[in-house]
């Protein structure tokens, strides 16, 4: 048998049909659904008189436009948002889907809820009408975003028409330095590949630095595979993965657990598998990163300065000029001198419990700088409850952060959490596009630790400066 990559193995295990030209029908094990990209798909089903093929494999949760303030229990004021949420409610109930409504403590961002509830398992195919479905690749599941027409296709048939992507390996060797996180790995990789570097490929992340990450860190890395243009990101499952899954509500139990484990342990890329593209980074070379522009590839170590557009080539020269103009930045300014107005900690990239712990660690005994608006939005109701139990919410509130309910919040500003024009935000989310966090809003992407440090100083800050042991006064 010829050697295979992990992607090859999952692909082969889900192939329902393959045409001569390679067009394939792939079986989908888990379909996650949220309120924004699904209404037209359900409407399509109804109009054609079709049913949901596998409601037991379909999980629905509202996240994109739910408000994150406590008053949301009284009802959602924005009429269009309310209609979308009501539509999801109706569709989930009528078609008998697994459903976590706004009032359920398990509600949260779909990519946080799936793994938390044990829906996402190694070797599965997972899709959702959301590009950050890549997150689930952390379990060694083939997971990617789809459009609404494809949502309808999966609802109706539990399959997807696909052609196979190429295999790309991203290896991170060595050990991360203190203050450097999974977020910095994934930003640094995009800095090297560019936002189109992964186009047409499925990335598998490998190497010691990846193996050393927790499941939550691995989810952060895979989450942003899409920002590098890849269809999906994958990390082969190992003991860390199995440990995380065991005992979760929808994880297999008893004899089925043993059977599953036996298969999961075969899910790795063979030694001599073929890679179409390989990129290797040394973990020791990765510093805490921030973005300066309006594309996730516009990333530099915090120790750097805003680049000159002329330092680029091709279409990037104009793009960089446009980005600096939009961001209100001048070439040559040290990144650590950029003052911010707002701090957002949350999103499917960095809204899990370890992210909140890391940010709280920096904020303990410190205050948000005067005049800075800061908010923490846990990724799910369960993350929120856990953080409260651990006393993290108290640390955030004492520092001056707002402590919110679960949702996508300011990552995409489809809900009341938005930036005003010109407002500059240190954000733990995944996209710094023009207008992403609100029309005219300016986004700098970074890790939760870095965002916490920025909240304290009021400017982009090297978190390592706040981690240094404080000298005793003489």
């Amino acid at each position: 048998m010829s050697p295979k990559t992990l992607y090859d193995k999952i692909w082969d295990a889900h192939l329902v049909h393959e045409d001569e030209d390679g067009t394939s029908l792939l079986y989908i094990d888990r379909h996650l659904v949220h309120e924004v990209t699904s209404p037209q798909a359900f409407e399509g089903l109804r109009m054609a008189g079709r049913k949901v093929h596998a409601p037991d494999k379909t999980i629905a949760v509202p996240d994109h436009n739910v408000p994150t303030t406590p008053d949301r229990v009284e009802g959602i004021k924005n009429e269009e948002s309310r209609i979308q949420l009501e539509a999801l409610d109706k569709n989930a109930t009528e078609f008998g889907l697994n459903y976590y409504p706004v009032t359920d403590i398990r509600q949260g961002i779909v990519h946080i809820v799936g793994p938390e509830q044990g829906w996402t398992l190694p070797g599965m195919t997972v899709v959702c009408g959301d590009s950050h479905t890549a997150t689930h690749g952390a379990f060694g599941a083939l997971a990617h975003g789809i459009g609404t027409s494809e949502v309808e296709h999966v609802l109706a048939t539990q399959t997807l028409i696909q052609s196979k992507s190429k295999n790309m390996k991203v290896e991170i060797t060595g050990k991360l330095q203190p203050g450097v996180t999974a977020k910095d790995i994934t930003l640094a990789v995009i800095g090297v590949t560019g936002t189109a570097g992964g186009t047409g490929h499925v990335i598998e992340y490998t190497g010691e630095a990846i193996r050393s990450l927790s499941m939550e860190g691995r989810m952060t890395v895979c989450n942003m595979a899409i920002e590098g243009g890849a269809r999906a990101g994958l990390i082969a499952p190992d003991e860390t993965t199995f440990e995380y899954i065991k005992g979760r509500p929808h994880a297999p139990k008893g004899a089925q657990w043993e059977q599953a484990l036996a298969w999961w342990k075969t899910l790795f890329s063979d030694d001599d598998a073929h890679w179409d593209k390989v990129i290797t980074l040394k973990a020791e070379d990765i510093a805490p990163c921030v973005t300066w522009g309006t594309s996730p590839e516009d990333v530099l170590p915090i120790t750097g300065s805003v680049p000159a557009p002329e330092s680029f080539s091709g279409g990037k020269v104009e793009a960089a000029k446009r980005a600096l103009d939009y961001m209100g930045l001048e070439a040559g300014t040290p990144l650590s001198e950029i003052e911010i107005d707002t701090v957002f900690i949350g999103s499917c990239t960095n809204g899990r419990i370890e992210d909140l712990r890391a940010a709280a660690e920096i904020l303990k005994g410190r205050k948000v700088k005067d005049g800075i608006r800061a908010m923490v939005v846990p990724g799910s109701g369960l993350v929120r409850a856990q953080a409260e139990e651990e006393g993290l919410s108290e640390i955030f509130e004492q520092a001056g952060f707002e402590w919110r309910l679960a949702g996508c919040s300011m990552c995409l500003a489809m809900n009341p959490d938005q930036l005003a024009p010109g407002e500059r935000c240190a954000a733990t989310s995944n996209r710094n596009f023009e207008g992403r966090q609100g029309r005219g809003g300016r986004t700098h992407l970074m890790s939760p630790q870095m965002a916490a440090a920025a909240a304290v100083t009021g400017r982009l800050t090297d978190v390592r400066d706040l981690m240094a042991p404080v000298a005793e006064p003489a």
Partner: protein, 201 residues
């Protein structure tokens, strides 16, 4: 789905790389539960100022491009989110064909589901067509899917590559779901096999 066979029309030049889906249709317009009506908000934040007035310099606001049916754009067009609202807005505006050196994966897929033809061409050829598009409304470009050619306003012919299955579906206006449902026996036999091999799924 609407067929795509041949189109002759005005091409609007948008020489910007990494045009993302937030640019194509900002999130505030994703709250609709319909597919239609998004064209007026296509490129909203570039097309209108803070008071909702048209920005005269933006290409689709210029008189010669208001009826554009083709868009010529830079590398990595459609990057970002999976929102199908992006191709819905493009189509609702009246654009049926995009020409660019490369596309983001999900956006590219979404175009085919909506009768939009996304053409990939080498940078030099896109540059040539961009120049042609800059001539305005008298410079009409012809796109022929059957022969896989783009003909510029002065008669220069460019070939492009296209996946045969996608081409077939676009030419015939085929509905994917109907095609797949013809394979329901194969899906059922996959499911019974999987139920034994991976019962925990």
């Amino acid at each position: 789905m609407e067929k795509f066979e041949k189109l002759t029309g005005v091409a609007a030049p948008l020489p910007v790389i990494n045009v993302d889906t937030d640019m194509i249709i900002p999130k505030q317009f994703l709250k609709t539960i319909k597919r239609e009506g998004l064209g007026v908000n296509l490129f909203d934040e570039m097309r209108y100022d803070d008071n909702g007035n048209e920005v005269p310099d933006f290409v689709l606001n210029k008189p010669q491009y208001r009826n554009a049916e083709i868009l010529v754009a830079g590398d990595n067009f459609g990057c970002g989110s999976s929102r199908e609202h992006a191709p819905w807005a493009i189509k609702d505006f009246g654009i049926r064909c995009i020409i660019a050196p490369s596309y983001a994966d999900i956006f590219y897929n979404n175009c085919f589901k909506n009768g939009i033809l996304p053409i990939i061409m080498p940078q030099e050829e896109v540059d040539a067509l961009m120049k042609d598009a800059e001539k305005g409304s008298n410079a009409r470009i012809t796109v022929d899917l059957e022969t896989q050619t783009v003909t510029s306003s002065d008669g220069e012919v460019f070939k492009f590559e296209m996946d045969p299955f996608r081409k077939h579906c676009l030419l015939e206006g085929l509905d994917d779901i109907g095609l797949t449902m013809n394979r329901s026996d194969e899906i059922a036999s996959f499911e019974s096999r999987a139920a034994t091999e991976r019962p925990w799924v």
